[in-house]
């Protein structure tokens, strides 16, 4: 049985590798570092999608990290015990909502809100940045980042909670004994020792965001482009596969999409491995 698992993973990897060879042969290193994705002219490269993937995921992390760490602290340090379980359940439910439902909500609720309220507001507040420029589409990197943030909050929160829970009470008592206030105790006795765990949780959340498909496809605007504005339409590696795979009509196009898939696979496996290694080391230290 165990063999099945290993063979399966190797098969997935080999399939993507062999089938994306034509794209790598046709464009060489340019396939990874080129900026153009023009199916009509048979020019394909990954960089624009890598950009969209990484920017939207980092945006998501930026929004989600303070919220998740705050929630984890609240759950472990401040929460009255009767509230703890229901609150945990609610946050975990965020992870149970299907991606396509988030996407639907994103199209009809979040995107109009971003278009009508958030973007004009930010553009008015920071007129000199190029970050908030452009016509208000409502769909784009920023909206995708928001949706992704909601989707990775449960991941980061639950791992951070686990990390904070495993910190010995001795630390907290020590800080209190030295006259630290509630916040100082949290800062020195919880956040300090738990920092590497929080980092691992964030990386794991990032890994989830990178592979997320449907919700992002529905709100990112689907345009292969590298633009400085956070409100411009973009595309991620996952969204371009979802959009184009069923209808790509040249062998090179298909092979390039599989190449995108390969890059996505390597990226998510790498991100996840890093975070697992950190978590594993944190666990070994605390036990």
């Amino acid at each position: 049985m165990g063999i099945v698992v290993i063979v399966l993973f190797i098969l997935i990897f080999m399939f993507l590798l062999t089938n994306s060879r034509p794209a790598f042969e046709a464009f060489g290193r340019g396939f990874v570092f080129g900026r153009e994705w023009i199916p009509s002219e048979e020019v394909f490269s990954v960089l624009a999608f890598a950009f969209g993937t990484i920017v939207s995921s980092l945006l998501a992390l930026m929004f989600a990290l303070p919220i998740s760490v705050g929630s984890a602290i609240f759950l472990t340090e401040l929460c009255p015990s009767f509230l703890r379980r229901p609150l945990r359940f609610l946050i975990e439910m965020l992870a149970a909502i299907p991606s396509v439902v988030y996407g639907l909500w994103g199209i009809f609720v979040l995107a109009p809100f971003v278009r009508a309220t958030i973007q004009p507001g930010l553009a008015a507040a920071f007129p000199y940045f190029g970050l908030f420029e452009g016509p208000p589409y409502g769909v784009g990197l920023f909206t995708a980042g928001l949706i992704l943030a909601i989707m990775i909050i449960p991941t980061i929160t639950s791992i951070s909670t686990e990390v904070f829970d495993s910190i010995p009470n001795l630390y907290r008592e020590g800080a209190k004994a030295l006259g630290a206030t509630e916040w100082e105790t949290i800062k020195t006795a919880v956040l300090g020792p738990g920092m590497s765990g929080v980092v691992a949780a964030s990386i794991l959340g990032l890994g989830r965001a990178v592979g997320e498909t449907m919700a992002v496809t529905m709100v990112i605007g689907n345009r292969a482009d590298i633009s400085p504005s956070l409100f411009s339409p973009s595309a991620t590696m996952a969204s371009v596969i979802a959009n184009e795979y069923a209808e790509a009509n040249s062998d090179l196009h298909i092979s390039s999409l599989l190449g995108v898939g390969l890059c996505l696979l390597i990226l998510s496996v790498a991100i996840n491995s890093i975070s697992r290694i950190i978590i594993w080391r944190v666990r070994r230290k605390t036990i």
Partner: protein, 296 residues
Amino acid sequence: MASAKKDYLNSASIQRMAKIRKIKSVFMTFLIGVLTGVAVLPLFLVFIFVIRNGLPAMNIEFFTSLPAPVGQPGGGMANALVGSLIMVAIAGLIAVPVGVLVGVLLSEYREDKFPSVVRFVVDLLISVPSIVIGLFAYALVVVPMKSFSGWAGISALSIIMFPPIVKATEEVLRLVPNSVREAGLALGLSRWRVSIYVVLKGSRSAVTTGVILALARVAGETAPLLFTAFGNRFWPTSLSQPMPSLPVQIYTYAISPFSDWHRQAWAGAFLLLMVVFIINVLARVLLTRGSGGSRT
């Protein structure tokens, strides 16, 4: 010496300092509370909108009829509902036994080298984006069969489904104290019999919980079905034909320009969300029962 210290403690600046620290602490704890509120806010927002738009859109037609021709109002998602149920069920039949057995292997043979390699690979598999699994299923099933099919969708779903089941099973079985295993071995049972008949059977409700949660997660998967099961406007009659599914139908309807389709997309989302929510609540209830409520 002691009095000097007291003076120092009473000095106004220290007092002020303490006050500032206190205020800062109150402010920060308040902020943490606010952040927690922000974390659960989206859940309520999504639920409110899905219920508000989806509940009124529910009607008999939605549950009983096939989709209407493009752009015409009416019709329903009955075929997609059935298609989803079939695919998730068969994927479950494939993935659950494999997942549980691998889980048993990982937890019961901890000290061997091979399981730790398997464990590492299972973690890797969990991190593979579902759309990539969809690509793989396309190559595995669609290309040789020369047709989009229910089977392709099922193979994608079962590959996505089994790693979480492995993890869940392993975690549950690890909680079983070693004395139980030793008791079984002392009775002269062989090692694998102890694993299956004593350890696994003893924690079956908790394992079931993990399985049900995995089923619920897979029920909402869309991306890997886009180019495997594809879609179908008729009743799913054969697994070697394209298969309709609820998530793909919701997606197609959501990005369409027809308001009646939007209405049905909300209805579909409402249904999907309710199923997932109820399953989750039930699973938590089982889980707290299964392990004495100490683990939340």
